[in-house]
Symmetry: D2
Subunit: 113 residues, 4 copies
């Protein structure tokens, strides 16, 4: 037996793992960060049970990371993501934020709706 909140938490984890491993490595610069944020948000929003996705790519870290050709690769240091998943009557809010040297994924809240 799997509870509704375990299932919702599982679904939230899938989405963060997917997002991270699909999009890190993508070339990004100051002028294209917004387009990439939008594409990440819209693609992950398609996945089952996703209710909302917010994606922010840190422009300061992009600026510090530019290579000789004027761009860099999307990585965990610059990603700030939060999302909400609803499975039946349970909502899970989860986030990805760089913490120390690790792109930490956390459940922020589980509640009934």
């Amino acid at each position: 037996m799997v509870t509704e909140s375990e299932r919702a938490a599982f679904e939230a984890g899938i989405k963060l793992g997917a997002l991270y491993h699909q999009f890190t490595g993508t070339p990004v610069g100051l002028d294209t960060a917004e387009s990439l944020e939008q594409a990440i948000k819209s693609s992950i929003s398609l996945q089952p049970y996703v209710r909302d996705v917010r994606v922010r790519i840190d422009r300061n870290i992009i600026s510090e990371s530019l290579n000789r050709f004027g761009y860099c690769e999307l990585n965990g240091r610059m990603l700030d993501v939060s999302l909400e998943v609803e499975f039946e009557k349970t909502r899970v809010c989860a986030a990805l934020k760089y913490d120390g040297n690790y792109p930490m994924m956390r459940i922020e809240e589980v509640h009934g709706i």
Copy 2:
């Protein structure tokens, strides 16, 4: 407040989402499937709280999918994965298996250890 079993389920979801989006698209053939299975297993085993990973790439589906150059791309149809995650005193067993036209990820069991 997040329970131990919600957290364990979340961690299992992260690993399956990561595995799928990291490795699908990889060129694979009958002679290289075993090496790819091994690399997937060993890389996902490094992630936090993972206790075991089993990866099977279906050779029949590889055979049916070969392109004119004799290989194909790893995709959800040919992947059969199960893994165990332990967070503190809770173990979650989860799996990825193609079902209809979808690479379905499921929690198979949650139990105390």
Copy 3:
């Protein structure tokens, strides 16, 4: 010794290989295809020596490929890409187009500028 046109052809190949393996597997649907096209175009345009990128994701193939949740994954069948690379005085036009069962990448033109 490497000629200018060999170098330009090499650079064009890098971009098509990168694009394909970075973005295939991304969740996509009819409403998000345009955002994904834009993000692919803008990210690949950042890479060295790229002068132009055109990306078209085939909406008919998306429609035929939708899973039970109403989306699918970007794959080689639905991608139509062409790009121009300039290295010093040489321009190479190259393309990715599905052909039979293979996402064929081809040089379409090499000429001085």
Copy 4:
């Protein structure tokens, strides 16, 4: 008209771009680097016109990059790749090596066979 050597250079570029964007981001540690090297080599060897692939993941850089969980992600800094492509009577040797802050891909040699 595309020459044999332009075509061979293009094919070499495709393979390096593909390899980089398929495999960077993969979890890797000292104990799993060899398995990942092997899987990369065997998967890229399947692609058309590839004659040889050598992949080396720098263990020192892995050691310096370990996160609190004892692993890191494969990135351009730690990758050293060389490959040979043959198209008809032309062989191209190409390589990927970190140079400054960039995973530089270069043609090392073009010659008839």
